[in-house]
Structure formats: C-alpha cells, structure tokens
C-alpha cells in the first residue's frame, strides 16, 4: 500500500472512531446522566427531501450536461481552416512535425481527427430530479448544573442517487481529509454523511458565557445576503443555496472547532470574541446535481497539509442606544471560499502526436483527456464565460505561469486577441484530442472590518412607518484576494466594500389574517458578486470577449403570509440582479400538527443569460422542492 493510501486509511479510521465514539458517548450519556441528576434531553427529526426539475436543462458543469456533448465542433488549429488533409500537412510540415494520413486516426484515438473536429463522445442525460435525500437529525442537550451544559447535534444524510449521470458520483466525500468528511467531526462515504455540526460544552457565569467545541457562528441581520456573516464558510454539498431563502444558511454554515465567549457589559452593551479552527467552504462534488465547477477541470483543494492547522479569530461589540442598535466587528481569517488558480496537472500522458511530451505536460495545468476534457475553443470560451473567467487571459496565465514547460510545447501568450487564443486553443485540443485543466484552491488570509446599525421608526399607528425597521450592514476587506479571471498564480488583489440595506415591515392587510412579513433588501459589492467571484470576469461570451462589470448590485423582496392559525405559511423570495437576472422562489409550508411539516418551494432562475448577472450561473436548477419532516 502506498504511503498516501496508508495515510488516507488512517485518517478515515480516526474519523470513524471519532463519530462512532461520539455516537456511543451520546447514548451512554443518555443512560447515565439522569443518575447524576443531569437533565438530558433528546429531540430531532426525520426528513425526506426531493427536488423535481422544472426544465429540461441539465447541469452544464457535469459531463452529462455539457452542451457540446455529441456535437461536431470544427476546429481551426492556428486559426486556419484545416478542412483538407493537404492543409493539415502544410501546417505540420511548417512546424517540423510528421505529416498525417488517414491512418493516423486509429493510431491516436480521437486526437487529430480529420477534418479537425472537437467531438465530445459523452452521453447527455435527462434527469427528472435534482435532489433525493433523507436526513436524520438528533439534538442532545445536557444541563449539568447552573453553570455548565453541553449540547450536540447528530446529522445523518443519505442521498438515494436516482440521478442519471455518466460518472460514478461521490456526493459527500471531500478532499479535505483525503476522501473523508468535510470537517473533523464528519464521517462521509459516497452516498451518506454523518456529522456533528454542533458539539459543545457551555459555561455561563453571570454575564460571562463561553462555548467550546464544534460550532457555527452567525453574525449580521440581512437575510440571505452575507455581509456581516463572515466567520464561517458554507457547505454546499446537499442542496447548494436552493433551500428557502428565508431559512438563511442554517444548514450550510461549516462548523469549526473553537472557543466563543461573550460578556454582557451592561444591559445595552455586549462584547464577544472567538477563536476557531479554519474550515473551508465545501463545494458540491463533480457529477453531483448541483456541481458548480465544470467537470472538464479538476479542482485540487489545498487544505490537507496546507491549511488544516489554521485558526481564525474575531470580535464583535454590540450595543443598543434607544431605538438605534449598533454592531462592530473585526475578523482575522482565512477566506473560506478560497481563491483558485491554475496548478500543475502532474499527469504525464503524452500528447498523442508528440511522443515524450507527457513529462513536460505534467508541468503545465493540463493533462490529455480525450474522453472528458475540453474539446474545442468554443467549449473553452463558453465555460469561461459561465464561470465568470476571462478565456483569453486564462490561456495566457496557463502559458506564462508555467514556463518553461508551456514554451517547450510551443504554447505562447496571445495578448488580448481572442482570435489568436482560439487558434492556439484549437491547436492543442486538436493535437491532444481533448485537455483537462487542473486548478487549485488556496485560502488566503484577510482582515474583515464591519459595522451595522438598525433603527425602528415610530410612525403613526397604521402608517407605513409605524415600527418600520431599517438595517444597514457594511464590511471592508483590504487587499482581499480573489480568484483572478485569468486564474493567474498571483491572484487578483483588491480592497472590497460590501454593503447591504434592509427595510423590514410586518404589515397586517386585514383583520382576519396575521401580519405578513415583508422585507426589501439591497446589496452592493465593489469587487465580487453574490458568490464571491471577481467582477472582472463578468461578461465573457463565446468569442472570448468580456468586459467585466463595475460593481455588483441586487435587490430582493421576500416575505411570508401566515394563515390565521399559522398552520399554513405562504412564502416568497425574489432576487433581482440589476444586470438582468431573476431568482424567484415561491413556497408554502404546512404544519398540521406538532409532528409533521410539509414544505414545497419552487425555484426559478430567469433573465438574460449573457454572463453579466450572478444568478444565470444556476439557470439549470429550476426546480420544485418538497420536504416532509417528522419530528420527535
């Protein structure tokens, strides 16, 4: 067994021991604690969740949803129409390469097709479902004495995998721990995960409170917009961000082991601080229904051995001055979303036409992947635009950042010319038969400073301003490191301002129904979008042109209207990206008794698909989601 495999197996065994140990410990606590006079309570729920697709769009980030599957895309190596063998051989001769004949095709597989064609021989599937999971959550609490208590939440999720795909899907295992769970308190296999998103010991003494253990920390008051909510990243494996917007990210925030403490200085002022082990945002895996990283690229998370021993620290002061509430925060952290750049592939398969080239290719961000790689410059630019990258500069960075290997393969910087880039790309795609890109995610350090205020207006009874709540939140992150639209190794470094304004109102339309909750929000970000992507990568099109956008702005309107007994709740959330994207989420919640709850939510993404708004990235995910919960 290789050293890596030994380490991987050892790591998995330790996770298993941890989770099994905690499970056993919890059960033991339940049996033993009453004997010591400790109040031990257990509650939880069983839930089934499914999402039915509302459109025939497949996720283009998966192999089975690639719009180029089965298409014959003409290639123009060096920008020349090589429709005829003679023309091909002229090019090869000019490059001192062996000329081709009709027999080369069988020799080199799908490479060097004649006429030059990028053909993705991958089956496109048609899915009816985006999601089909079952979940068990068990909450355990122990009130030990007046000062000490403990709590833990066990979460187990099983994905039934009814999806049609062309790959063996791994839903939950991550690279964070060499195939294990996303956090140290998680055990994962391909189809299920078991974790403890919360496992803490709590101490309270008068105005002092401390919580030690695995925990989420949520700050800020804006709904769905994460401006002040900076301590934790998000776990996007289960349902991406498609859960009801009004539920926030409670099931998403990645917990971390740490110590959080607060002290109530006076009835109006509180200080709080935390130190927490850094845990990164977890992206859905390739081929899973909500995968957001195109599967022609392999992402290497530089966490294990790189960032697995880092800690974040932060503090907050919160105060109340009459109708005015204030918060101030400062956090020193590693950005959990990370920044992505090209990395060496380390894969040494030869370019078919260039025997011996594999060793050099391994020093570049590419490997030959004739079955599942990028097959044409059209595909390259299409995907660059959809993930908000600059297809031309991404090529240049791949060339410049990996010299001399790329130079040795005759790759060159194309400047700002999309046509030159297209020619160079098609050349390599043709020669190789398809290339897989390799990228890495690292987690740069940054400081985030923020403040927020809320104010409650006291208008005339029944007027619009009566009890109208306004909130503003703002953060400033100097020298924030972003994924550069070019994926260059030096990233993109900019100061970022993020600002959210919220107006919130409970409004009673009639005497017969309880008040409706209405919230209107606005968000402004100076350097990145709702998902943290650099704005300079916006606007890419199929020709490789792109322009970026000046800033990111969106408005949202959300709320709910309960029935008189609150048995029914009609919800909606609408986000409009000012550059033309809509994210619309109506829903209804039915709670017939204290055991059962049924939630139905539709999510529809609409608007212009010109890569100039944030939500069009998700336009494959229109769906109707059903959630049935039984709690105990």
């Amino acid at each position: 067994m290789s050293k890596g495999k030994v380490r991987k197996a050892a790591g998995r065994r330790s996770e298993t021991r941890l989770v099994v140990g905690m499970l056993g410990g919890g059960a033991l606590c339940g049996l033993v604690m009453p004997a010591f006079g400790i109040d031990f309570t257990v509650s939880g729920f069983i839930q089934h969740q499914m999402a039915i697709k509302l459109s025939d769009k497949e996720n283009p980030n998966n192999q089975s949803g690639d719009p180029f599957n089965g298409k014959e895309v003409p290639l123009k190596p060096l920008g020349i129409d090589l429709g005829a063998l003679a023309a091909v051989n002229r090019v090869l001769s000019a490059a001192s390469l062996p000329v081709l004949n009709d027999l080369t095709s069988p020799l080199f597989g799908s490479a060097v097709t004649l006429p030059p064609t990028g053909y993705r021989d991958v089956r496109t599937t048609s899915n009816d479902l985006n999601l089909m999971i079952s979940r068990l959550e068990v909450n355990m609490n122990a009130a030990i004495d007046a000062n000490w208590s403990a709590s833990a939440t066990l979460r187990a999720v099983y994905d039934w995998n009814p999806y049609k795909d062309v790959s063996d899907v791994n839903f939950f295992q991550t690279q964070m721990r060499e195939g294990g769970g996303g956090t140290p308190f998680e055990y994962a296999q391909k189809n299920f995960m078991v974790d403890f998103p919360n496992a803490t010991i709590n101490y309270v003494n008068g105005p002092f409170f401390a919580r030690l253990g695995n925990q989420q920390i949520a700050w800020g008051e804006a709904v769905f917009f994460r401006v002040l909510d900076v301590p934790n990243g998000l776990d996007l494996r289960r349902h991406l961000i498609m859960d009801p917007g009004l539920e926030e990210y409670s099931d998403k925030r990645v917990p971390g082991f740490g110590l959080r403490a607060s002290y109530q200085i006076s009835p109006d002022w509180e200080v709080e601080g935390f130190i927490q082990k850094f845990e990164p945002t977890i992206y859905p895996n390739p081929s899973s229904p909500y995968n957001i990283i195109p599967d022609q690229f392999t992402l290497h998370d530089r966490y294990d051995g790189y960032a697995d021993n880092l800690w974040n620290v932060g503090g907050r002061v919160r105060g109340q001055l009459g109708p005015l509430g204030l918060q101030f925060i400062a956090v020193s952290r590693h950005n959990p979303d990370g920044a992505i750049r090209w990395t060496k592939s380390g894969q040494s398969a030869d370019i078919p036409l260039l025997p011996g080239s594999g060793k050099t290719l391994a020093e570049t961000p590419f490997e030959v992947d004739q079955a599942r790689g990028v097959k044409s410059q059209e595909e390259w630019f299409d995907y660059a635009g959809s993930v908000r990258l600059d297809g031309v500069q991404a090529l240049n960075s791949a060339v410049d950042d990996f010299q001399p290997a790329t130079g040795a393969l005759t790759a060159y910087n194309v400047g700002n010319s999309p046509s030159l880039a297209a020619g160079e790309l098609d050349t390599f795609f043709w020669l190789s038969g398809g290339l897989r890109g390799h990228i890495e995610r690292v987690f740069p350090y940054e400081n985030v400073f923020g403040a927020s205020a809320n104010y409650v207006f006291e208008g005339e009874p029944g007027s619009f301003f009566e009890q109208l709540i306004t909130r503003v939140e703002m953060t400033y992150t100097p020298d924030k490191v972003f994924t550069a639209p070019s994926l260059t190794k030096t990233f993109q470094i900019k100061d970022e301002w993020a600002f959210a304004a919220v107006v919130e109102k409970w409004y009673r339309w009639s005497e017969d129904f309880p008040a409706a909750y209405l919230v209107a929000q606005y968000i402004y970000k100076s350097a990145s979008d709702l998902f943290g992507r650099s704005l300079d990568g916006y606007g890419g099109d199929a020709t490789g042109l792109h322009g970026g956008i000046e800033n990111y702005q969106a408005v949202a309107f959300a709320g709910f209207q309960p029935s008189p007994s609150l048995e029914w709740r009609f919800e909606w959330a609408v986000l409009y990206d000012v550059r033309g994207g809509w994210y619309i989420q109506p829903g209804v919640r039915w709670k017939p008794d204290d055991k059962w709850q049924v939630d139905i939510h539709a999510t529809v993404i609409a608007g212009r698909d010109d890569n100039r708004n944030a939500v069009s990235t998700l336009d494959f995910a229109d769906e109707l989601a059903l959630r049935v919960t039984y709690q105990f």
Partner: protein, 458 residues
C-alpha cells in the same frame, strides 16, 4: 333564627344601580380598602351573600360541588359568557371552593405589603405614566388598590404582571382543535424582571440606571425540536406610550434579529391561540389602549386558590371536557365579593382584529380574573381565563423566600369563532432542564439578555 339584613336582591340592586349611574365604588357595606387595611379581610365590606357561594345561591351550591351544565344557570352572572358557553356546550366543569378571606393568601406577600404601604402615593404624570409623589417611577405594589377606575386598574396590572420582582415560569402548552385532540404541544420558559417597583430583590425599588425601563421579559421555546432554541426578548420602556424593543432568535437564522413589536394580536406558534397582547390580560403598554371604562360590577367566580397540583411531581393538572376529555384543566373557583369589568379599545392598533376587550378585576387585589374580546363586528372573539394559587396545599409547598410561592397555575385561551383552545400550565421543570424560579438574581443573566438568547439558541 338568623335574619339577613341584606338579601341577595339587595346587592344585585346595588350593583345594577351603580352600573346605571356609571359611578362605582369598592365595597358595599363599607369602603373596601380601609376594611382590608384594618382587617386583612374584606368580610366587613360585603354582606354574607357575597361571602359564600352557599349564601349566594341560597344553599343550592356549596364548596366542593361542581358547576356543570346542569347548574350553571345558578351562577351564570358570576362567569363570563364564554365560560358559561363552555360549561353548557363543551362539558367544562368548575369545582367550587370556599372563599379565601385572608388577603395575604391572594398574592405575593411582599407585593401586597407594598400595596398597603404605598397606598395613595401614586398619580399619573402629564404623559399618563404612573409616578410617585416625588415624580419618580412607581415604588412597588399596586399603585391604585381597590380602584374602580378602568385606567387605574389596567395601569396597575401592566406595571407588574406576575407581582414578583423576577420570575421564570416553566410552561407547557397544548393546542386543541375542534375535534378535541391535542394537535400541538410546546414547552417554553417565560422570564420577566422589573427594574422598577421592586419589592423583594435588592436593590429596591429601582435598579440604578434602569429607571427608564419597566420590564425585561423573554420567552424561550424549548420543545418540540423545530422551535427549540427560539426566543424573543422584550425590553419595555417605562414610558407607556412606547412599544417595547423586541429581539428574536429564530433557530433557522442562528442569530439575533430585531423585530417590530406592534404585531401583538397573532399567535407566536402554529396552532396556538395565545397572543402577546393576552399576557396577564394586559400584554400591551397601557397607553396603547384607550377608552377605558368600567361597564359593570358585582360578584364573580374566579380561580384564586386550590389550583396548584402539588401532588403531581411536575405540578401537571388533570383535564376534562371537550370531545376527548382534553380541552379543560380541572379548575377550582371561589366567590369574589366584588369585581369590576373594565372595557378598553386598542386605539393604537388600527388593524387589530379586536375591537374591544373586557377584563374582570377582583377589587380586593386588582387581579385580572377573566378576559373576553370582541372582533371588529362586535361579535365575541376570544377569552382568556387564568387560575391562581398559593403553591401550598397543606402537605407540600413551594417557597418564595420565607413565604409560600404565589403565582398563576394555568390559563385557558379560547377562540370562540374557531373553537380552538390553547391551554398552558406552569410546571416545576421542563424536559430541557429549565425550572420555575422566583426572585432569583440569576434570572437576568440566564434569560433576559441578548447574550442569553444567543447561548441558548441552536
């Protein structure tokens, strides 16, 4: 032969005459408060027919008997119309008890002492807030005992809900549908603390620097799982023209958010028929209601003693009535010699579903005993009737310092129009470990700060 000087019709005529004139007085044979202050007992202020249910009913009912559909007509004038309907149509029963004559058994000892001590020292300032002779916030006890003024009755009740300086009530709630089944069950810890008008806890009567606040009040939901960890904290300004500040911790948000506080006429939980406005029949700042007026006076039946289930380890109460025998708590009632019915309108809530409410107060203690509200069409809407008790049944007792604990024991909140019942009871301990507390200095830090909401949240 005992010759009764005042027969039943005398007191009835007396009270009807007062109602007709719109001029009410406390006490029939003598002014009530001087009698109470001198004897600690209201007996000298009322004729015999108002001092026992046997006398009132001419011997047809007696302590120990139940009021049922068969005999409710004998006492229908002593109950609110919703209670009468529940007894007639829904199988509700009320067990009769002897009248509690000792005033000190009808409320917390320190509160009643302060009421006697501070009698006559309260007034309304120009803004309508209660102040002492020196113009400071109220100093403790009921500011207007034995008052037949509607505003004074509500103002005093609003000033101190639970009549303790600080309390934590461990609450179990059951919400019952028209079919009689318990559709929803909840558990919650309700905490309240007064920074002013303190009569037991040091410093008294004010917490220095917090004289501008009337109350901290919070509710922490502890079960079932979907609401566990949720909480709301109200910080009441002393100025009763202003709404409280409201902060909420919703488990799905995982953080504290500020909420508007004017939506006080809707349930907080699915299935519940309990409104924020219902709390202690005076759940809103009293200057947000108006047009207070007394619309009636007379004897009443109220649950003032014998309602603590000390024999049950967790003080849980048996139930009866309704289609499945689950709709009503067993309740003990006794004759109150004189109550006033005060009507008020929600003048600061133009979209409230309520047009007015009528609350009966026991004039001896100014304790609210029942509340009924009417919808905007003037139809009966909801009722809120509570039960109180000393937590001392002769065998077991719960102490509040050196005295037995006095508090509410259970409440019925009934929606006449939907037929849904919410009933809540005060228990010793919740499944999550919260226990009943009274005048405990720890209450503030444990329950009444945003930090407490954060740490108890999940």
């Amino acid at each position: 032969m005992h010759i009764r000087r005042y027969d039943r019709t005398y007191s009835r005529r007396h009270f009807l005459g007062q109602a007709a004139r719109g001029a009410f007085s406390a006490g029939l044979l003598a002014p009530l408060w001087p009698v109470l202050a001198a004897a600690g007992d209201a007996a000298a202020a009322y004729p015999e027919e108002l001092r026992s249910i046997e006398a009132y009913t001419g011997g047809k009912l007696a302590a120990g008997q139940d009021i049922t559909a068969d005999n409710v007509d004998l006492v229908r004038d002593l109950l609110d119309p919703v209670q009468v309907r529940q007894i007639r149509e829904m199988g509700r029963r009320l067990r009769l008890a002897p009248v509690t004559s000792d005033i000190m058994r009808l409320g917390p000892w320190d509160y009643l002492e302060a009421t006697f001590r501070n009698k006559g020292k309260a007034r309304f300032d120009a803004d309508g807030n209660i102040v002492t002779d020196e113009g400071r916030p109220w100093s403790g006890g009921h500011p207007f005992p034995a008052s037949t003024d509607g505003l004074q009755a509500f103002a005093g009740q609003t000033l101190s809900w639970g009549r303790h300086d600080a309390s934590v009530y461990a609450i179990r709630e059951c919400d019952i549908g028209v079919g009689g089944a318990v559709d929803y069950r909840y558990e919650a810890a309700w905490a309240e603390m007064s920074p002013v008008a303190r009569v037991t806890m040091d410093p008294r009567p004010y917490l220095p620097g917090q004289e501008d606040k009337l109350r901290y009040q919070a509710i922490f939901f502890t079960a079932p799982d979907d609401v566990r960890g949720g909480s709301f904290l109200n910080v009441w300004p002393y100025d009763q023209r202003k709404f409280p500040d409201l902060f909420g911790y919703v488990p799905s948000f995982k953080r504290i958010r500020r909420y508007p506080t004017n939506q006080r006429f809707e349930p907080m939980l699915p299935g519940s028929d309990l409104y924020l406005s219902d709390a202690w029949a005076a759940g809103d700042p009293y200057l947000t209601w108006g047009n207070y007026r007394v619309v009636g006076t007379g004897p009443a039946l109220a649950a003032l003693s014998g309602n603590w289930s000390g024999q049950h380890a967790n003080w849980e109460k048996p139930t009866h009535g309704g289609p499945r025998g689950l709709t009503f708590y067993d309740t003990v009632v006794e004759l109150v010699p004189q109550a006033i019915t005060v009507e008020a309108e929600p003048v600061m809530f133009p979209r409230a579903p309520v047009s007015k409410k009528q609350v009966r107060f026991d004039l001896r203690t100014m304790l609210p005993i029942t509340m009924v509200s009417y919808d905007r069409r003037g139809q009966l809407f909801r009722s809120f009737d509570g039960a109180y008790s000393l937590y001392d049944d002769g065998k077991d007792r719960v102490m509040d310092g050196a005295r037995p604990y006095w508090s509410w024991t259970h409440v019925h909140a009934f929606n006449v129009q939907t037929g849904r019942m919410t009933r809540i009871e005060q228990v010793a301990r919740l499944s999550g470990g919260d226990v009943m507390r009274v005048n405990d200095p720890e209450i503030y830090d444990l329950y009444l700060t945003q930090g407490a909401m954060q740490r108890r949240g999940r």
